[in-house]
């Protein structure tokens, strides 16, 4: 009946630090999937509903929401230590900081190699083109890039799951390519540790507990804010002879992670949407059949300005976008650079991520629905519960004050019907149920003065 006692379907990277949380309700109000309740003065997250978008962390004024990560020292378990970096890390630095100094910075903290995820982007583009030709696909296709969006669809829009392209995101292909290229140089696979520098909680979860994949090719995750702190002084002090920003030789799209990154090279039948609430709005329209039939591709990203706005990205998202757009205008590397330069050597070590990885890209398995909206699995019982909810809503004030620990009167009513909350959690009802007749009168009056009514029926 309820899913409470079952093993949670999803794992998460976000944790509430109970020592810091004061139960202020900010996160509860902002969560797009209604996953948070306040219990015993602290926020508590329903793991079946959370999609790891990170909105709660952004809203928390007490730094009580943290993102788990691997112990940095774990990289030293491997002889060959690769930092697998998204472009937005490079986008934290402007054109005065060279690509080389970022590379040197990463080396100075212990990595032996650096590989940019965006080098797999051209291949994913090819995969998308091929995927579109398949006869069994449902248009508009939805990109599988953002893991928070995939989970959002599983939880809130299960009827749209078949629109998601079953193509692995660039990160996975990049890891596979990187590993293979290193093995070619004679390094043992077990000696290679690939660590992804993550811009968000969703990517961490996608690596640790992949959906639609058996195992990720990545060995661990380091949060981008941590890396930034570690390399910042190095990079900013290294301006002297570091050279300028550059761009790898092959078809690397360094703006792929930004809003429109997947659309820009497509025809005008593609549409890009960023920000989780905007994404919800568009998915709602798609579900209603309201979207123009000419739209054949949707790039949906949970964060405002896509990964530039990821919760672990330290810099301003608009500056990040600007820096990356500038980098994208650079001519690709012509291989005339210094042969003795370590950064150049690192970059050239990895050849083109070619179409031999295409079959690998198509290995994402069918995604399973996980609707968390239903009042009960059994429709007959769900109907009964819904009637119960309606009755409760008649007496609740409908002002969504949050003092009951639920984000809205409606969700309290549903929690009660599900049997996980009590009516006496409503502070409004308690006030107006005081025994002393005189008290009740003045209380009701003051409540009416503020809210204009004491319940939904007035």
């Amino acid at each position: 009946m309820t899913t409470r006692n079952k093993k949670p379907f999803f794992h998460h990277a976000l944790r509430i630090n109970k020592n810091k949380c004061i139960g202020c309700t900010h996160c509860m109000r902002t969560c797009p999937t209604d996953a948070i309740r306040i219990r015993n003065g602290k926020a508590s997250v329903n793991p079946d509903k959370c999609v790891d978008c990170g909105m709660c962390m952004i809203s928390c004024k007490h730094n009580a929401i943290i993102v788990e990560q691997d112990d940095f020292q774990r990289i030293f378990d491997y002889k060959c230590r690769v930092a697998l970096v998204p472009s937005v890390l490079m986008g934290q630095f402007d054109e005065n900081s060279g690509t080389k100094s970022i590379f040197e910075g990463l080396k100075s903290v212990g990595f032996t190699h650096v590989y940019e995820v965006s080098r797999a982007s051209a291949l994913i583009e090819e995969a998308q083109d091929e995927y579109e030709q398949r006869s069994d696909v449902e248009f508009p296709l939805i990109s599988s890039f953002c893991p928070a969006v995939i989970r959002l669809i599983q939880v809130r829009f299960p009827s749209l799951l078949k629109h998601i392209t079953l193509i692995k995101p660039p990160l996975d292909i990049a890891a596979a390519h990187c590993r293979n290229e290193l093995e070619k140089t004679g390094i043992n696979s077990s000696d290679i540790g690939i660590f992804y520098v993550s811009p968000c909680a969703a990517k961490i979860v996608a690596i640790k507990h992949p959906v639609g994949e058996k195992k990720s090719a990545v060995n661990g995750v380091i949060n981008m804010d941590l890396i930034y702190n570690k390399i910042y002084s190095f990079v900013s002090n290294d301006k002297a002879d570091s050279g300028k920003l550059c761009r790898p030789a092959d078809n690397t799209h360094v703006t792929w992670e930004l809003t429109g990154g997947e659309c820009i090279r497509r025809d005008n039948h593609a549409m890009a949407v960023d920000g989780i609430h905007n994404v919800i709005e568009i998915l709602d329209k798609l579900e209603n059949g309201e979207l123009d039939e000419n739209i054949t591709f949707l790039e949906l990203r949970a964060c405002d300005e896509s990964c530039a706005g990821g919760i672990l990205v330290p810099g301003n998202r608009f500056l990040t976008v600007r820096n990356l757009i500038q980098r994208e205008t650079l001519p690709p590397c012509r291989k005339t650079a210094d042969k003795n330069d370590a950064a150049c050597q690192n970059c050239r070590l990895f050849g083109k991520c070619g179409s031999e990885y295409l079959p690998e890209a198509f290995k994402l398995e069918k995604l399973q629905p996980r609707s968390m909206l239903s009042l009960d699995d059994d429709m007959e019982i769900a109907l009964e519960k819904m009637e119960h909810v309606d009755t409760i809503m008649q007496i609740l004030p409908n002002i969504d004050c949050g003092m009951c620990g639920s984000p809205s009167c409606q969700s309290l009513a549903e929690d009660i019907a599900r049997g996980v909350a009590e009516l006496d959690q409503c502070v409004f009802l308690r006030i107006t149920a005081t025994k002393d007749a005189e008290d009740v009168k003045t209380l009701k009056e003051s409540v009416r003065n503020v809210w204009g009514r004491i319940n939904n029926n007035e």
């Binding site: 809130r156 299960p158 009827s159 799951l161 709602d284 579900e287 209603n288 059949g289 309201e290 123009d292 039939e293 629905p369 609707s371 909206l373 239903s374 009042l375 009960d376 699995d377 059994d378 429709m379 007959e380 769900a382 109907l383 819904m386 009637e387 549903e414």
Partner: protein, 137 residues
Amino acid sequence: MKFEYHVEGGDFLNAGNASGNIKKVLKKLNVDPGVLKRVVVALYEAEVNIVAHAYRGNITADISPQKIEIVLDDEGPGIPDIGLAMQQGYSTASTKVREMGFGAGMGLPNIKANTDDLKIESVVGKGTKITLSFNLA
């Protein structure tokens, strides 16, 4: 369980409110995603029809574990030739309505394709009543 909504002709800003609400209800009732999609697409189309062509109308949804039945009853010009209106590609939507992205010519055939049963009763000059049924069990 019954749900009722009122629709105003010409109010494109709110077109889709009723279907949006019913969609929420169906998700809470754990209705199969495939059925849900059909209900929402058919209902949205029918709701927009009222907004685009009629003066006003009422939508009543009756939901049981066996069946979803939705009646859309409008006051409006009615449909003179239902047979013609049922033909693929036929649309009475004015250019203005189409420019707004509504009534792209899918209309009744699209509604029919998504329902298990569709009943249309119409009196010219008075209004149209259509009944959409979906089997669950």
